[in-house]
Amino acid sequence: MRSLRRLTFALVVVLCGRVLSLPAQDVALPLNSGSVRFAAIGDMGTGEPAQYEVAQRMLQFHQVFPFTFVIMLGDNIYGGKSPDQLQKKFEIPYKPLLDAGVQFYGALGNHDDPNERFYKFMNMNGERYYSFKKGNVHFFALDSTYLDPKQLAWLEKELAAAGAGWKICYFHHPLYSSGAFHGSSTELRTVLEPLFVKYGVQVVFAGHEHVYERIKPQKGIYYFTEGASGELRAGNLKKTDLTAAGYDKDRSFLTLEVSGDDLYFQAVSRAGVTVDSGVIHRSMTVQASAP
């Protein structure tokens, strides 16, 4: 395993007219030149203080790990969908990141209005499902609430054409989960997993369960659930044989860096504590540490 460079920082940031003292924080990501750096959040769009606090922590992290985009794992906007609610649940909490040029790429959850696909800040270009490429990483955002044959045919065609780089899929409902509230979406798994295996998808992100969980590799694929970036079901992670690491005590977000054949990950709590970190090699071995 390549050694991880660890950076330590302490920051004071001014947000929303308040001065927040933030504790020291380790960055367990290598910040390699030319790497693809991004964050992942899920089930965040509550408009409640906890969402704002996670967003502030993301901003703090961005100061030392300048990720360029964020993938959104669904339930981007809970409850009311009026324009002022969209501002309260997306534009305002993430404004500092948007102002810093960070792009957001949405996937639809079961609480989302399908018309979010027309909202330019979510970069969906009017589509329920879509793909995009960053460096050597191909991303596929799916609408797992409505996996119709047309979407599945589109996914197969896109995966087949994606070439040799990293292939990362993300959507709302987890195919594997130890969450007590929903658990694994086994029926979605029966239609998606064969495509992932056939076309060499390496990593999958989902939300829906309001916890963080990293699953032991399943058929060579790494699965993460990050559904606690706004909502939280404390104590809801009932660790099973599937669980490689998990966290259900507070809100969290994921930061990631793809550098060559390595994908580094670091899950961070609202309080700034690293709750999981490690690296996935494309040879499909993982070395990770969870406190």
């Binding site: 989302d112 399908p114 027309f118 609430t145 409505y146 119709d148 086994t186 029926e187 979605l188």
Partner: protein, 154 residues
Amino acid sequence: MAEAQVFREFTERVQRYMDLQKTLPRERTTRRPEEIADRRLALAQAIRQLRAGAKQGDIFTAAISEKFLGVIRNTLQGSAVRRTIRQGEPVANLHLTVNSAYPDHLPLTTIPPTLLVRLPRLPERMAYRIVGHDFVLEDTEARLIVDFIPGALP
């Protein structure tokens, strides 16, 4: 009547719904959420006017409903399918009416892919939904209930 023939009739009725409104202004990508909301409301209002007399059963006729019910109930015999619906946070039964707005504060129930594969394909902006015990055809852009089969699900 054979299932294929009935489903063809359904597809033609959906297409007539699409043709009815093909000249109406559509959603487009924008940074302004109020523009999305305004366009959706305008589109919904225009469709309501064009379908002022629409009622439950116009698209899901008795014959079409019967075939849909057969497929739905057959598919729901699988425990994984029922689990998919449960995991999708099913909403309580609502009093639905054709041309009313889909209640956008409520979650969308996952439609089992094994069910979708057995039903007629829809145009991209249309979707099947499960709302309580009812099986719904939704215009996802106007967020309108186009038609529904009451009591389709146990």
